[in-house]
Symmetry: C2
Subunit: 521 residues, 2 copies
């Protein structure tokens, strides 16, 4: 069972544990306050003497590879989530671990999806102690009930790179599903029958893990080019019939909204970007893959065309809407961390202006800068926002953990962060007095757009000034909240939670910004 | 002054020091014998808090950048040599160091060229203690006279990566001349007025150095794509009028030979590759940039066309001859570590099949394999070969150090290593009883091709068998040597050297394979 954790109040006033899964933690100290010390993780020095001179690292089966990697009790096994809900490899990995009678593993995916529901059985049977990564759907639900033996750790994409790079998380075996690879282990996601675009979420694993297995269903003659993953970091190559179902990359979050309210919010958001002067030649933007964000991009595209404005770059998660903008010459580049549909995959393969990125380039807080802070504007979702502009993206207002952080926290460092959100969902208000879980500090969140008006963070006097005469429905956030509460009949009930921490939320610098508590039965 | 070094006999029977420049050394233990332990170098953890949020790392001058990097006595300053004899940056760096009254620096270039002759003055005036890298021309000559205060260390391209990666060489400040860069420090060599192709020799510096300065004469709006060097590793960007003279990339070594003897040797080499069965569909080869190697590639190309054979990949140093093969469809890929002429530069920019590589992918012995051992055949030069197939590439038979190792040692791990060499140069025989300096152990060198016949290493019974009925002039190496000695009038005089070590030669695994001694005046 999970140990009873000692909680302290961090700089955001949140109760967080000082130790998780046996490792000391630093409580959140405020934005830009924590300064890391020490050196990056240092993988063992290898020698070509121990690797086949002809470059052929192919072994007979996934089981063989795992055994050759020395799979044993208590190890950390990592994986990427570029197949999203179409991954076909990781359930097999833990089935093999069960066959081999291995216990107490930590699974360290960049995200887990509903397709990984069978791993709940491996938690129950002792093969897996806990999952450390974004938990969506059934796994999040299971963890919220207190089902894991270890404490969950939610990290942003950049935070995951930071944690591995800084040695907070040591990966014993990385399993990298690859749509195309050669026998040496060079691998790419942009081609092959299971093409998923890129493999950037697995890059840090390939660099820092003790042992690396590339699993492919499309073995090509050396060299596999591009080599998004480099064979010089790979120990073994496994060929399976099928590693993923790329058609399942498209999750529910990547469908364009049809709701008139959300379309209205999306249009208001685009108008804000235009009226505030952010939309200008050579500007840059990023929009998430949620339905409203997609609609925002479409509205913005029309406004850019009307005004004859071209972006210098757009950050993906790419979708067909962004690809159209690239191919119509509305941007020089898509800098893409994750393809959200098959048009994105195709474009990454075909367009030299569609550049794959990794959390190192885009999000890692413990580097010499990253791309996120250079964005002119980023448009993101949220499950809750409070009157101080603090936002939540991992739990619902009942406290249940159902979403990962993704690049959300990292993106808050853009020059302007806009959250288009509906005023309420299922009659539950989205603007609250205090967020259930703090994921993004209010000082980094600049604008909230609802169907009932736009609230600008009072810290952003420049934006208030710029949009003063725009005719946009700009209102204090408290006003919008009051209006919603009146409509619903008062603020929502506080969630009923125990005092048992089932997961923590890390800030981009590795400190603990909040805890997620077990739900009452 | 250099300390008097304690010498021991290594596994090759060569006298080598046990300590160099204050660091303990491991004597060469034999091919594939030394097993490294420990972990890779671990650079300090940085934080975005300390870097500009807008990504703009441009400072006013090279002097500013060096001062902000904390330039001080005793530091190690590194640079790459992609401009070869056309580098315009490094002399400026040491002039600035002199202005700042900094003393005792170690310069750690991937190679130094005649254009760096002014740095001899900086050795004399105490700014630079010694140069650790390939020394060509005047610097090699100066070092051979005992001019440096530290002991030189000659490493292969792969050995340089290995030394930095393994922490043997800690770089304080890396100066990366870049033909194109953005304000964030992303940089590429494949475009811009000073385009030199790629920046692979500077990659390890960018990853492991404490501080990294990108120096460019072509600042483009973010993002600079491709980003051969990633801005996330860069501290400062400096803009100069001109960073290099790409027309000087073409050195004397990259001119096609006109000598009838050498053309004959080149043709014999190509015939050997054909008759031995190495030239077959999807094969791979690498040929150096020397005049004979270039001629070999041209002969081989015609044989490939006649036999309707296509290579899977060719390894560069690229030249217009290799580019023609790519563009005529005679190979799927050029895997290129260094562009040797402007056609190579253009092709790297234009052809998706012209892939830039780095010593990490190609040569690093302390990785999980590298590309060199996957080559079907490699054709290299040598200054001397002995009857046991040992070869020398760094000193002349008078003992003077005039060449770097380049990728030469790394390439010896190919499936077949062929050295086409003239039987003698300036009436000095090239085949000797014992090489002046041991750079490549004979067990890795398979074939010697001279205008007086081809010698196959007796270890390679397979090659002897394959070419038995080929009609090629295959002879024992001793026979060829005897014939040459008789022509010249006896074997060459031994060089007259002191017992003072002025430089060592490292093997690919970081052990010391031989010493280079100071010449007698």
């Amino acid at each position: 069972m999970r140990q009873k954790l000692n909680l302290v109040k961090n700089a955001a006033g949140r109760l967080v544990p000082t130790e998780i899964n046996g490792k000391k933690q630093t409580p959140f100290q405020g934005v830009n306050k924590y300064k890391p010390t020490g050196h990056k993780a240092a993988p063992p020095i290898r020698s070509c003497t121990d690797y086949p001179a002809d470059g052929n690292k192919v072994v007979n089966s996934l089981q063989d590879a795992l055994k050759k990697c020395g799979l044993k009790d208590g190890m950390t096994i990592s994986s990427h989530h570029h197949f999203r809900n179409g991954d076909l490899v990781m359930n097999q990995v833990f089935d093999i671990a069960a066959d081999e009678n291995v216990k107490g593993l930590r699974w360290f995916p960049s995200a887990a999806f509903p397709c990984h529901k069978p791993i709940i059985e491996h938690i129950k049977n002792g093969v897996v102690d806990w999952i450390e990564g974004s938990l969506n759907g059934p796994l999040g639900n299971y963890a919220s009930q207190g089902g894991m033996r270890g404490t969950g750790v939610l990290r942003s994409h950049g935070g995951r790179w930071q944690a591995v790079q800084d040695g907070e998380v040591h990966i014993d075996i990385a399993v990298i599903a690859a749509p195309t690879a050669d026998l040496f282990g060079n691998a790419t996601g942009d081609r092959g029958p299971s093409a998923c675009g890129l493999l950037g979420f697995g890059l840090v694993d390939s660099i820092y893990a003790d042992k690396v297995i590339v699993v492919t269903d499309n073995l090509v003659p050396f060299p596999c080019i591009p080599w998004q993953i480099q064979g010089q970091n790979v120990d073994f190559v496994v060929v399976l019939d099928k590693v993923g179902e790329p058609e399942k990359i498209i999750s529910g979050t990547t469908k364009l909204t049809k709701s008139p309210d959300r379309l209205h919010i999306a249009e208001l958001t685009a108008k804000f970007v235009k009226e505030s002067g952010i939309m200008k030649d050579a500007f840059s933007f990023q929009a998430g893959a949620g339905g409203t964000s997609l609609a925002f991009a479409i509205f913005l595209k029309e406004m850019m065309k009307d005004a004859d404005i071209k972006a210098r770059f757009i950050r993906g998660g790419s979708t067909k809407y962004l690809v159209e903008m690239l191919e119509e010459g509305l941007t020089d580049y898509i800098l893409d961390g994750q393809t959200f549909d098959l048009d994105g995959v195709r474009s990454m393969r075909e367009n030299s202006g569609h550049q794959d990125t990794s959390p190192f380039t885009s999000y890692n807080w413990h580097g010499k800068g990253n791309f996120a802070s250079m964005l002119d504007v980023v448009v993101l979702g949220a499950t809750e926002v409070d009157v101080n502009f603090n936002a939540n993206v991992v739990t619902h207002s009942d406290g249940k953990m159902l979403h990962g952080i993704g690049g959300w926290q990292n993106c808050l460092f853009s020059k302007c962060t806009v959250l288009p959100i509906p005023a309420f969902r299922n009659r539950i208000p989205v603007i609250v007095d205090e967020v259930t879980t703090l994921v993004g500090p209010g000082e980094l969140i600049d604008v909230i757009v609802t169907e009932r008006g736009i609230a600008i963070n009072p810290l952003r006097k420049d934006l208030i000034q710029a949009t003063k005469n725009s005719g946009l429905p700009i209102r204090p956030i408290e006003d919008i909240k009051d209006e919603i509460d009146k409509l619903i009949g008062g603020p929502p009930a506080k969630p009923t939670l125990t005092d048992e921490v089932i997961s923590v939320v890390k800030w981009v610098d590795g400190t603990v910004i909040d805890s997620i508590f077990k739900m009452k039965k």
